[in-house]
Amino acid sequence: MAEDRVPTWEDVARRYGRKIYSFAYRLTGNPDDASDLVQELLLRVRKGLANYTPGSFEGWLWRITRNAFLDDVRKKKRRPTSPLPDDDRAVLGASPSPDEVLASVRLSDDVQAALLKVPMEFRECVVLCDVVGLSYEEISSAIDAPVGTVRSRIHRGRKQLRGLLTWPM
């Protein structure tokens, strides 16, 4: 799995599947939409890899991820729905105590609900930065906007998000 070779479609599915799904879920709050995005994206990756030349793979991947997401949203022409906390519960292990589990789920729900109230253009940058873990430069490439715009959107998104989170941190 060297960095300088073109990954296979299976590599992409294994390595980025969870992040792509999380990206879509955090943006939409809807597990069905997130699943649709992963499937659509993997199809695009399979087609796109034939013409992909080694370079910034992450930039390329997240650019087509975002485009697939926007296309999907346009196609469905519906607003993001409310979050379904069942998805967050699915990732919790058996070891934490019931209280910890409930607290963690509640926290995730609150943050997810707050995220969905942040305007999409800000939310998108916040999620790419803090969920996916991209640099400002990579986000700039993914959303096709200047780094200064990315910086501004992340800041404004976080600021609004903090105002929406009512619980003490």
Binding site: S35, V38, V111
Partner: protein, 216 residues
């Protein structure tokens, strides 16, 4: 009427929605993310050292950032993910040749993929079996000759060098310890040498000088 020549108190509003009048907001988020440009770090650090409202906003931004970062990375539903299994990566995993991220990815995959887990067990068994094989000495005729010959040559060189050293040491020892030999003086030879020298230099006293032949 307000005195415009004096600095006006800044109407700071903390982070719940209104922009901070200090206008370093974007820099604070970039600071949190390690994304400041050259020269901006000093500006942010200096400002945060004496602006209480910006310090409060900084902590608000940090909390919002932490909240999103703590969201779990979700498991993709099985029906969505292709049945992608690991191959050569499993051997590299056994040999500790993967990065930490790759190892984590495989461990997570193994939690839900029985097929890859069985494959890993098979590979581990094969690897253990091969490693347990005893070492075998190759038959003598198959041993390459070159290393042996070169070894002999080296030994010979060492022996020659050692002998030379011992010989030189012996000679030096003899020179230091033995007294110079007294050789008997050959008077006839001495007299001949003396005559020749006198004839050349011409000033050897005690010996008759041969006058130069006068010209006619």
């Amino acid at each position: 009427m307000a005195d415009v020549t004096q600095p006006q108190p800044i109407d700071h509003v903390t982070a719940t929605g209104v922009d901070n009048a200090c206008d370093i907001g974007e820099l604070m988020s970039a600071y949190l993310d390690g994304e400041l440009r050259e020269g901006e770090l000093d500006q942010v650090v200096a400002h945060l050292s004496d602006c209480l409202s910006c310090i409060a906003e900084f902590h608000d931004l940090k909390e919002a950032r932490t909240a999103v970062r703590m969201l779990p990375i979700l498991q993709v539903p099985d029906r969505v993910m292709p049945a992608a299994h690991y191959g050569p990566e499993l051997s590299a995993f056994l040999d500790g040749e993967l990065t930490v991220d790759e190892q984590t990815m495989i461990v997570q995959h193994l939690e839900s993929c029985t097929e890859c887990l069985l494959e890993l067990q098979d590979l581990d068994a094969a690897r253990t079996a091969v490693r347990a094989l005893p070492g075998v000495e190759p038959p003598a005729p198959l041993l390459p000759r070159l290393p042996v010959r070169s070894q002999r040559t080296s030994m010979r060189r060492i022996a020659v060098a050692a002998a030379g050293f011992i010989g030189a040491a012996f000679i030096a020892f003899n020179m230091m310890t033995s007294a110079p030999e007294e050789t008997p003086v050959d008077l006839d030879q001495f007299a001949d040498r003396h005559t020749v020298r006198q004839s050349v230099e011409g000033n050897f006293t005690g010996v008759p000088v041969i006058a130069p032949r006068s010209s006619p």
